[in-house]
């Protein structure tokens, strides 16, 4: 059987190809490489070039037009003493931490629930229910939540009044003490489709035999969860956490639509400050510097996260 497979036509071609010099192999696969050139070019032009041009522009005062002159690291110095940036970073850390925890833990439990369902049909329908919100435009979600928080006619305050708790009715988005919590609760119960599918995929790859052995050994739900499911889906959980962290750090549409960073600066985040610096104040250089700092911070956090996760996997 082995002998037959190794002498099959495809294996022979593969063997011959792998032995040819590199230029010949490239020439033989020229159409594939040419086809690859198009997406690579698009990636370079629309992703890499703007990213690297941000690094370059962060060293200049640039108003988006003709005013463009070199100032070195002045923007980075300014950032150190910028009160708005400090508040924005503080807000971001709290917001990202809360959302990373929520957007990992809750999708994990949702995926656990589906994996443990005995009925394939129910499992299918639950998956549909969890994935369905993906088709609702994000902006629509924000507008709905904006209405929910409306102090005069919003659903939240009306609900509180209905159950006799009118003393807790607030202007949720206009009060500096409640605004970040209100924003963090947008899209409750935080079941982001992508993270949910990643974790579900991880749980579904755990062999059934492992769960059966654990059950024979008398492991209950919680022991199985902490000693089998979480360790065996660590990679997926890490990926979900990194993605959430990246998405939440880049997020400015939520803050723009709901509060525009107010009242005062109490819901300002760096991505929104970047947008405002560029498009409100035409300070494209400063905006680029904020972008560079965010990029470096995200890269560092991602690397740390991956290393910690890889270390845990080795253990």
């Amino acid at each position: 059987m082995i002998r037959r497979l190794s002498t099959s036509p495809s294996a022979r071609v593969s063997k011959r190809t792998s032995q040819s010099p590199l230029p010949i192999r490239i020439w033989q696969a020229k159409w594939l490489y040419l086809a690859l050139l198009i997406p690579v070019a698009i990636l370079l032009i629309f992703e890499w070039l703007p990213a690297f041009s941000a690094l370059y522009n962060s060293l200049y005062i640039w108003n988006g037009g003709k005013v463009h002159f070199y100032v070195g690291l002045e923007h980075y110095e300014r950032m150190l003493s910028d009160r708005t940036f400090r508040v924005a970073i503080t807000n971001l850390i709290g917001f990202v931490f809360f959302r990373v925890v929520m957007q990992t833990v809750l999708p994990f439990f949702a995926a656990e629930m589906i994996v443990n369902l005995r009925s394939a049909r129910w499992s299918y329908w639950w998956k549909i229910i969890f994935v369905f919100p993906m088709v609702v435009p994000q902006i629509l979600n924000y507008l709905i939540w904006r209405f929910i928080y409306n102090p005069q006619v919003g659903l939240l305050n009306e609900g509180l009044k209905l159950i006799g708790l009118e003393q807790y009715a607030y202007a949720w988005l206009a009060d500096p003490h409640t605004v970040m919590w209100a924003l963090a609760f947008v899209r409750f119960p935080w079941l982001p489709t992508l993270q949910f599918l990643i974790i579900l995929g991880g749980l579904q790859t755990i062999p059934q035999e492992v769960h059966e052995s654990a059950a024979i050994d008398g492991a209950g739900f919680w022991r199985r969860l902490f000693y089998i499911d979480i360790p065996m889906t660590r990679r997926q959980i890490t990926l979900a956490m990194i993605l959430t962290m990246l998405f939440m750090t880049q997020r400015f549409d939520l803050f723009l639509v709901m509060t525009d960073g107010g009242p005062g600066y109490s819901s300002m985040v760096p991505a929104l400050q970047l947008y405002q610096s560029a498009f409100h104040f035409l300070e494209f250089g400063y905006a680029s510097a904020i972008g560079v700092v965010l990029f470096v911070a995200m890269l560092a956090l991602t690397i740390i996260n991956l290393r910690v996760s890889a270390g845990a996997n080795r253990e």
Binding site: V67, A171, T259, D260, G262, P263, A278, F279, F281, L282
Partner: protein
């Protein structure tokens, strides 16, 4: 061989046709702001579309000239849109823009100075009508003064609209609360600022939130209107010394205000400034809950649904909406004057000040120059803004008050025209007063103060730092001298 000859001939034919077209035809792209013809809808089957007629008339009179009206996208900010189209060199030849944005973007050479054109006759204005011999004469001097960019010494904007703000009030609700709604005092429902606060307080005691307004930076905000008019009241005794020599009453330009800060003529540490903050702080409890992040639309909805008896809005466009939507008796009023009852610094105020005025106008962009069709583009602009054309546009769609001499104001806007007779406030909205950055940061600081995130002392210290920094930046950017105030 025969096929080759045929192909070459065909190519020349096609190329020649395009080349000929390129030589003979001009296409002018223009935004017209709120006057862009709406598409008919089920609720509004015959929307105003006079602009289409005006364009057709111009095209008929100028063979080879095509006019394309451009609608600016609603889903991105105007700033973002302009940055994109200008940097892509795809901007329309004519853009409706707020003059403060034009000032802000002036260093990019995006706009064509119109100084020479407005001094020339406008051939589309009938003989004997102001502007026929000199285009500038069709529009009052105060309008040109407002939009004139001191830094470059250029006029970039032709402003043919005026807007005023107004307090809309729900007569039925106020009468139920026992408030006198007779509008018998010049331009105001109230005798002075204190009376306004007292009567709004009575409304609050009757169980209503008094005033729907917006201080959100995310949408058009109405807070700025209080800000500028009340600050003017507090510095009424000093403002003349801030003007450039020989000037008469006018809204301070950037240079005058920045120099006043630099020369120490106004400071956040002044007693008048502290009085002004106190005046706004006493007024703030009358504003509807959530004003800090409320949009204009949300504030409007609260008034129309009878939740709130007062609304501060645009007295031109909003009047059309209120007329259409309100199912109660309503009136329109104005800011009261700030008098010595409120502050010793406001002792010489005889009236309230006009808020609004001449904010947006037509600009000609650099594209007209690049394509060598500047004359044609300006000619089209002269045609559209000439009284015979513009009169029809605003009658068809009365969204703002026309500024030109010799034009009748549409009936729908007549109740608000009286506001335009008030003296213009000397200190504008925070953005045009000094800079966009100042406007935004000032508004956020005031929000922090109103929501008790910072105390008065911190507010004054931060304001002082902000005003000083922005004045320095604006003066340095424009290389202005401030000696004139010290003479």
């Amino acid at each position: 061989m025969y096929r080759r000859i045929m192909l070459v001939a065909l190519f020349l034919l096609v190329f020649g046709a395009f080349a000929g077209q390129a030589q003979d035809e001009i296409t002018i792209f223009a935004t017209v702001g709120a006057y862009y013809p709406d598409e008919p809808t089920e609720n509004n089957p015959n929307p105003p579309a006079m602009m289409n007629e005006i364009v057709a008339e111009y095209e008929a009179a100028n063979p080879g000239v095509n006019i394309e009206l451009v609608d600016t996208p609603a889903n991105i900010s105007g700033d973002q849109w302009r940055s994109t189209v200008f940097n892509g060199q795809n901007e329309p030849h004519i853009i409706v823009n707020n003059y403060i944005r034009v000032w802000q973007e002036q260093g990019n050479d995006w706009y064509v100075p119109l100084n020479d054109y407005i001094e020339a006759p406008n051939p589309h204005i009938p003989e004997g009508t102001p502007g026929a011999e000199r285009w500038a004469d069709s529009i009052p001097e105060v309008v040109w003064d407002t939009t004139f960019h001191t830094g470059s010494g250029n006029q970039y904007v032709v402003t043919v609209n005026a807007v005023a703000v107004g307090f809309y009030y729900n007569i039925d609700m106020l009468e139920a609360a026992g408030i006198d709604t007779e509008f018998d005092i010049s331009y105001s429902l109230w005798e002075d600022w204190e009376t306004m606060i007292a009567e709004m307080g009575a409304v609050a005691e009757a169980g209503y939130e008094p005033l729907a307004m917006s201080m959100s930076t995310a949408s058009p905000y109405t807070y700025n209107w209080f800000d500028g008019t009340s600050l003017t009241s507090m510095y009424i005794d000093h403002i003349e010394s801030w003007w450039e020599p020989g000037a008469s009453w006018h809204a301070l330009n950037q240079r005058e205000f920045a120099c006043a800060i630099q020369n120490g003529l106004i400071s956040a540490n002044d007693d008048a400034f502290a009085d002004w903050i106190q005046l706004l702080a006493d007024f703030e409890p009358m504003w509807v809950d959530g004003y800090a992040t409320m949009t204009w639309d949300e504030a409007y909805r609260l008034f129309i649904t009878g939740e709130v008896p007062f609304l501060l809005g645009n007295a031109a466009s909003q009047t059309l909406n209120v007329t259409r939507d309100a199912d109660f008796n309503w009136g329109i009023s104005y800011f009261p004057p700030v008098t010595e009852t409120t502050s010793a610094h406001a002792a010489n105020n005889e009236s309230a000040y006009l808020v609004g005025g001449f904010t947006a106008g037509f600009t000609v962009t650099d594209r007209a120059r690049r394509e060598g069709i500047e004359e044609q583009v300006v000619d089209f602009l002269m045609f559209v803004t000439a009284q015979p054309q513009w009169g029809r546009v605003v009658t068809d769609s009365p969204r703002s008050i026309p500024t030109q001499f010799g034009l009748d104001v549409p009936d729908a806007l007549k109740p608000t025209v009286a506001f335009l007779e008030l003296p213009i406030r000397a200190l504008k909205d925070p953005d045009p007063r000094l800079s966009r950055r100042y406007g935004e940061d000032h508004r956020r600081l005031m929000q922090e103060f109103f929501t008790e995130q910072i105390d008065l002392e911190t507010l004054i210290a931060e304001e002082d730092r902000l005003m000083t920094r922005e004045a320095r930046v604006v003066i340095a950017e424009n290389e202005w001298s401030c000696d004139f105030q010290m003479e």
